[in-house]
């Protein structure tokens, strides 16, 4: 008998007559923010900015027109001279760069090279799939303007552009929007560690600096 059969057989035997019992699941928890927490869309966006900033990310609100200039200024300010971006990043985002070498992430035949090639880069610019106001979380799903997961794991700096309409209020709203078939990266601020006396300091993996640009259009 295979271990699969052994384990499944043990489960069935262990459950006995109780097997298959449908336990009702009460779902009386909130799916949306209460009116008190965020009466308007603008409040949802403001709550997101406040909460993501509490994770030690820096947050800026910019209009769609200002975005290219703001990105260029941020990269310059962070001394990010060599950056990478997903190949499908909206064309205009990097239009204002000066003195920054930006490279598009193209598929590589060799896996090792695809990861090694990220060493030595100063930063990455991406968009996101969903952002959650209540928890200050940003979720990337590898879709448009987000690229593969290694992009936002290896370089030390991440500039993430969040469109206001990508911000939802709660975790249930985010889960409903996301596609489980895609690999998802939930970002709660820049990389940190709390392993030393529970004090929050820069982590061992992932970008140590996270800039979030909220675009209101």
């Amino acid at each position: 008998m295979s271990s699969r059969e052994t384990v499944l057989g043990r489960v069935r035997e262990a459950l006995g007559p109780a097997r298959g019992t449908r336990v009702p699941v009460p779902r009386d928890y909130r799916r949306r923010l209460s009116g008190r927490q965020a009466p308007t869309r603008a409040d949802v966006v403001a709550l997101f900015s406040e909460r993501v900033a509490e994770h030690r990310a820096s947050v800026r609100h910019v209009s769609a027109d200002e975005l290219a200039t703001a990105i260029a200024a941020a990269l310059w300010g962070r001394e990010a001279g060599r950056i990478i971006a997903p190949a499908d990043l909206p064309f205009g985002w990097l239009a204002g760069l000066e003195g920054v070498a930006a490279q598009a992430d193209l598929p590589a035949a060799d896996r090792v090279q695809a990861v090694r090639g990220l060493d030595g880069l100063d930063g990455v610019v991406t968009g996101c799939a969903v952002a959650i106001a209540q928890t200050g979380t940003i979720v990337l799903d590898g879709g448009r303007a987000q690229g593969r997961r290694a992009l936002t794991l290896v370089p030390p700096y991440h500039l993430c552009v969040v469109h206001a309409d990508q911000i939802v209020g709660t975790v249930p709203e985010a889960v409903a929007r996301l596609d489980p078939a895609r690999p998802l990266t939930w970002i709660g601020g820049p990389s940190t560690t709390t392993d030393i006396e529970l004090e929050r300091t820069e982590g061992v993996y992932g970008p140590a600096v996270l800039d979030v640009f909220v675009v209101e259009d």
């Binding site: 035997e13 006995g16 909460r51 895609r182 690999p183 990266t185 392993d195 820069e202 992932g206």
Partner: protein
């Protein structure tokens, strides 16, 4: 129901190779014996007390912030119960979904089989080393030791793992913060003894220490090889694996290597993707007292061009089905490994994780380990008693496991298993003797007089560390105050003789 096989991954020689190749786990002693060392270590107690107090405060604030926290807990409890009662079909569904997404599912009936599967998978990659983010499951099956015995070097992927590696014989004290019991001075000493290039005058502020650790882990997780991780949840409906961690070590393991091996317990399943809306709210707040865990990653099978080319999921039983068979005890399998119950437990707060053995520490370990290993062994029988039954753990548990209730249930099983022994256990003999003595006034008074005299001889500074004979077992885990020089009865009689005046002048006084 077959017991969880001969291999319990606990104790020397049981499923472990002979001592010649690598460290052999010590036989697990009784909780009280194992706790003695921890209790006498003032630094450990101080560090633990400080850290658990911080975690408690953060958690209280984070859970108080949600006005639907109780509703979430109730939903979490119900989803977990529903999962467990349909576990076989959820597991089959999970297997179909993972396979459909390009992953491979392996089944391990016990720890030895899981170790074998993982060792074979790593060997097949041709690598002599593997990167790992340690999980409770890996520790449970002693995966690292097995890989090292097989000649594979295991490299920890995170800061805490590096600290624990440098600590030599140190064992993690906490599932989420393995180095919780070390203060910054100790971590500094561990890191300063490092390779050339480590500054000898390394300051002991956390940022500098994290920097030193980062420099050491600089090469990170290499892209070509294999890595091992655990899981927080497995979604049956979609085949999605969820990893949720305070640092990013697991994310690096899950994304960078060529081959990813995830070892998870069969109870980690949740039925649907939508169910994560509950657990991704409960877990971060309960585990680290924050609104979200800093690094949550989910993936389903393999994604071309993104992440590992091969994904293996090892589903582990190792006694979980034995727990499932106990109608009351199975509630312990709802556990989502948040460690909230540890941080509020007065016993764990003083002893740390070590005395609980290789399974989960703290209150949840005290109910899970004896259920998996049986209550026959001294270690198994002692764990349900490693608690004051204060109930704090049940109050914080995000999936509402009534741990005190389970502890009492298990104590019942311990007594039951003892009753069947041919020689009556000391407790039973003692109770019988006590019943005989207390059944008669003169016998009782004579015993009290004798007892008082003996007890005062045994005490040091008003406390008795160890009672003689059969009673000695009881004092293993506690000190007893020395009795007063005079019993109440003797005092009462003497004051009656001296005229019955003064304070408390009669049986009715003070009522």
């Amino acid at each position: 129901m077959t017991p969880p096989s001969g291999d319990s991954s606990e104790g020397p020689g049981r499923g472990a190779a002979p001592s010649s190749a690598g460290p052999v786990p010590l036989p697990a002693p009784k909780f009280a014996t194992a706790a003695r060392a921890a209790l006498s270590d003032g630094r450990l107690r101080r560090n633990l007390a400080g850290a658990t107090a911080v975690l408690r405060a953060r958690r209280d604030a984070a859970t108080a912030e949600l006005d639907d926290w109780e509703e979430l807990r109730e939903a979490g409890r119900a989803i977990r119960d529903r999962t467990l009662l349909n576990l076989d079909s959820h597991l089959e569904e999970l297997e179909r979904a993972v396979t459909g997404a390009g992953g491979t599912v392996h089944w391990a009936a016990d720890a030895a089989e899981a170790r074998r599967i993982v060792t074979t998978l790593v060997r097949a990659t041709g690598e002599g080393e593997v990167h790992a983010v340690r999980s409770a499951v890996a520790r449970e099956i002693r995966l690292d030791e097995a890989l090292e015995r097989a000649g594979i070097t295991v490299r920890g992927a995170g800061l805490a793992e590096l600290v624990m590696d440098l600590d030599g014989d140190g064992r993690p004290s906490h599932p989420l913060f393995p180095a919780l019991h070390h203060d910054r001075a100790r971590i500094r000493d561990l890191l300063a003894g490092g390779p050339p290039g480590t500054p000898a005058d390394l300051p002991d502020d956390p940022a500098a220490l994290a920097g030193a650790a980062r420099a050491r882990l600089r090469d990170g997780v290499p892209p070509g090889g294999a890595a091992i991780c655990g899981a927080a949840f497995l979604v049956a409906e979609t085949g999605t694996v969820v990893l949720a961690e305070p640092g990013g070590g697991g994310r690096a393991c899950a994304v960078l290597p060529e081959t990813l091996i995830c070892v998870a317990g069969i109870e980690e399943v949740v039925p649907t993707w939508a169910d994560l809306e509950v657990f991704l709210q409960l877990l971060p707040r309960a585990a680290v007292g924050e609104r979200t865990l800093p690094a949550i990653s989910t993936w389903t099978g393999v994604t071309p061009g993104d992440g590992p080319a091969a994904f293996h999921l090892v589903l582990l039983d190792n006694g979980r089905t034995t727990v499932l068979a106990d109608e009351i005890g199975r509630a312990a399998l709802r556990c989502v490994r948040c460690a909230a119950c540890l941080d509020v437990c007065p016993v764990y707060g003083r002893t740390g994780g070590d005395p609980y053995g290789p399974g989960l520490p703290g209150p949840i370990g005290a109910v899970l380990t004896p259920q998996v290993r049986g209550v026959e062994s001294a270690a198994g029988a002692s764990l349900p008693y490693a608690s004051t039954l204060c109930g704090a753990c049940a109050d914080v548990c995000p999936v509402k496991i009534d741990i005190p209730d389970l502890l009492v249930h298990l104590r019942g099983r311990v007594v039951e298993s003892r009753r069947r022994r041919p020689v009556p256990p000391p407790e039973l003999a003692m109770m019988r003797a006590l019943a005989w003595t207390m059944g008669d006034r003169r016998r009782h008074e004579a015993a009290l007089r004798r007892g008082t005299r003996w007890a005062r001889l045994l005490s040091r500074g008003g406390r008795i560390r160890r009672l003689p004979g059969l009673l000695g077992r009881w004092t293993d885990a506690r000190d007893v105050p020395a009795p007063p020089a005079e019993t109440f009865r003797a005092w009462w009689r003497s004051r009656a003789r001296s005229g019955g005046t003064g304070t408390g002048a009669g049986p009715e006084a003070g009522r």
